[in-house]
Each structure stands twice: as C-alpha cells, then as structure tokens.
Amino acid sequence: MDRLIARTVRKHRPLSVHFDLTYRCNERCVHCYLDHENHGELTTGECLAVLEEIAKAGTLFLTFSGGEIFLRPDLFDILAAARRLHFDVSLKTNALLVTRERAARLRELGVRRVQISVYSEEPTVHDAITKVKGSLERTLAAIPLLLEQGLQVKLACPLMKENLMAYRGVMALAENLGVPYVLDLTITPMMDGSDGPLAHRVSTAELLPVLQDPVLHGCHPQPVSQAAGTDETQSPSFSSAVTSGIDGSAYDDLPCSAGHNSCYISPYGDVFPCVQLPQAAGNLRRERFADIWYHAPQLEQLRAVRESQLPVCSRCEIRAYCERCPGLAWMEGGDLLGAYERACQLAEQKAKLAGFVNPISAMHAEQGPSVSEATLIRESGSFLPRLN
C-alpha cells in the first residue's frame, strides 16, 4: 500500500475520493457541520458523469456519504454505476433506512465497507444527540443485516460534551458485534465557517480522562504519524473525522493526503481538497474533474505545503504528538500554514501524558502569557477584543 500511496502522491493521482451525495438527513445531530437544506444536488445523470470522470482520472477508493445517503432515491443506481466502473466502495450512514433487502442489494453491488455512527450504547444519550427518538435501536438493528451479507461494518463514535464518557460502551458494543470502531475527537465548525458545533466540543482538560484511559493507547500516547490514516483492526483507535482508508506512512513531509491523492466532492459538485478544507477548487457542473484536479490554483498551492516548512509548527518541540489538520488550521486559525489553538492544546496534553515536563507548543511559546489569555477568551466563545 505504501508504494501505491507514494506513487499516487508523486504523480497527483486522485486515488481516494469522498463523495457526499446529499446534505439532507433524517437525523439532526447536535454537532453536525452541514446545512441540511437541498440547494440543488447533482442529478443522477450528473453523479454518474462524475463517477466516469474520476474513474478515468484513476480513483479506486470511493466513499459515499452525506447527509444520509439512503435519502437519495437513486442511491442504488449510483452504486450500480460505481460497480460497473470497478470502484472499491465504502458507505457512511446512520443506517436508519437499512432493511434486509437493501443490505442484500448493497452486497450485490459490491459495497465493501459500511461505517455507521453510534454515539453511545445508551438510547437516551444517542437519541439526544441525533434528536430522533428510537434512532439507536434502529441503527443497531441494521448492523446484523449488513453483517449477514458479509459487508464489513465499522462503528464511528464522535466524542463531544453529550457523550464523552460513552466511548467504553461503544467499544464494548463493537466487541460484542465483532466489528472495528473509531473514536473521533474532532468536532468542526460548520462548512460555512460558523462555529455552532464547537459549543459541543469538549475542552482539552475535559478530555484528560479519555486520553489517560489505559484501554486507549496503554496510558502512554505515542507520537502520531504525520498524516491521517485509518485503522481497520479492532484495536482502539482515534481518528480525524475524515479518513481516506489508506495508511499514512508514505506521505513523508506532507501534512495529509488532501489534494495530493484524495479529494472531496460535495452534493452540488464542488471539489474540495477535503471535507474539512472547504475551499472549492472548482465545480463539476462547469468544469471537468481533470481540469480542476490538475490545474486549480487552490490545489497547486496546497500541494506545495511541506510540514518541515510550516512557519511555526516546524519548530515545535512536541510536533510528534500533534495531529494538526490543514483544514482546521484554515477554518479555526485562518491560516492553512498556521498553528491553531486546539491542536496545540491537545499536543501539549498528549506530550505531558507521554512524560514531557511542562510541554509547550511553538505557538504558545511565541505567544507568551498575555496572548494565551486572549486565546482563553476565544475558547470561551467570544471573538471580540477586550475593551478594558
């Protein structure tokens, strides 16, 4: 796999594409970063044309997500087209609309993996997050239907204020089902930049009990890879909200796969480097995928970024404990190349747990105490300057 990644990164082939078919959803998760109104989704024909184009460009790994994909009445037409084009297909869903017949159809159409969001093993906790009564029961009922068909199922559990300590229950649930899981600490702003979901994000101090849990990383957080990856085993794992399904060890000095060998396509045809970096490089209703992928200035700019040349982070002593995301750096700090508060705080906590004495990120070291105070104001939700 490393060889494939290295080859596709070097030649900028879009090996992995995340395609959101809709932002409409039958749940209303409190932390969701999407606008659920339909602002003009790609038609079936447009979706199939997109698939043709990305297949021609070299995409193999294709993830369909949303919104809730089963709200697209043409989902199976799109999956059938993906099968004809020989993609390796994964789905992300809440599984509320999965039936035995639909599970069988997914298998017939060659879907390999289905990732399902589960926030807790407790219905009251899960349903309070999705705002749909009975949603946990329906989601869990779907999992055996998918497993019966031989599909690979993975549970995804974003952790937030409402379910922070629910991860043990989700882990046990996954173990009982015999499926892998991923715990996700990433709660992002809305795609339009508004910060509503951040009200549900736990502070790094509140995360300490989780980071210290001996079940996770054996009490001693290890330096992380420089690029996001995903773990398909059943061992405990954290992940960013978006994973490409590919191992990250071949990315070398690159921040991540975004724009190098992976990208994101919105239901409206916008091409982004990543769902967490919503800077449209072009739109597939107006341009061909290959023209966007190979010539968009936004992508060329992103491809020029090297970790070792980041103005602040490259000098950080605890960089090995940081999971800096370029998209979040842009969305939360306003600078694709910059450091941002959340990543620095988490890196400091992880470094401390690993045995560092008073670890301090390069950004905090440069800011000094007075600026850190300003940062605390931002964390508390106010972006206004102090007048006194």
Partner: protein, 101 residues
C-alpha cells in the same frame, strides 16, 4: 463454453480495480487484500475478456512487448494461474452469483 487451465478466464466481477499509470491495483473484497500488477501484467489484465485463451493473450503480449512466443506463453500462463488461485480470475461464463467473493 468449457474452461481449461489455459482459459478462457474472466475477471472476478466482484473485484474493485483500477489501472493507474500503466500499473493495475486490484482489491479482493473478501480478504480486503490488495494486488498490484506491473505494466505487462496490466496489459494482460486489460485483455482478459472471457473469450481469449492463454495462447491468444500470449500472442498479444509477444507482439506488444517484442518477447519470444515461448517466453510470452510461459509468463502468461504463470500469471493466469496466479490470478486464478487468488480468485481474481474465474472461469469464463461464471454467473456473478456463483462467483466467490
């Protein structure tokens, strides 16, 4: 149509695969195993259509890459055997429902 060890073979319809820069990546769905074919392997893979025999594929390979017919046939048969043992190829005419995943 009968299938001998020499073929004809067809690609397992349950596979995911893509040719990227003259090399082919194949994902076997049951084991989630990835296979990679080099340029000549990719050439053969592209031309496996459920109709051509090993001898016919070898002849195409010999023409395309200017290798001797004997070498081309030996290499083609070895690759077909390897792909079939990994269930990446199945006997031509096998219905998709009968194809092992």
């Amino acid at each position: 149509m009968s299938t001998t060890p020499e073929g004809p073979w067809q690609k397992n319809p349950s596979l995911a695969w893509r040719e990227i820069d003259d090399e082919t990546v194949i994902i076997s769905p049951t084991e989630s195993v990835m296979h990679e074919l080099n340029e000549t392997g990719s050439f053969l893979w592209k031309n496996i259509d459920g109709l051509r025999t090993a001898a016919e594929l070898a002849a195409m390979l010999a023409t395309e890459y200017e290798v001797t017919p004997g070498t081309a046939l030996a290499d083609t048969e070895a690759l077909l055997q390897q792909l079939a043992s990994s269930k990446l190829l199945v006997p031509a005419g096998a219905a998709s429902a009968e194809v092992p995943r």
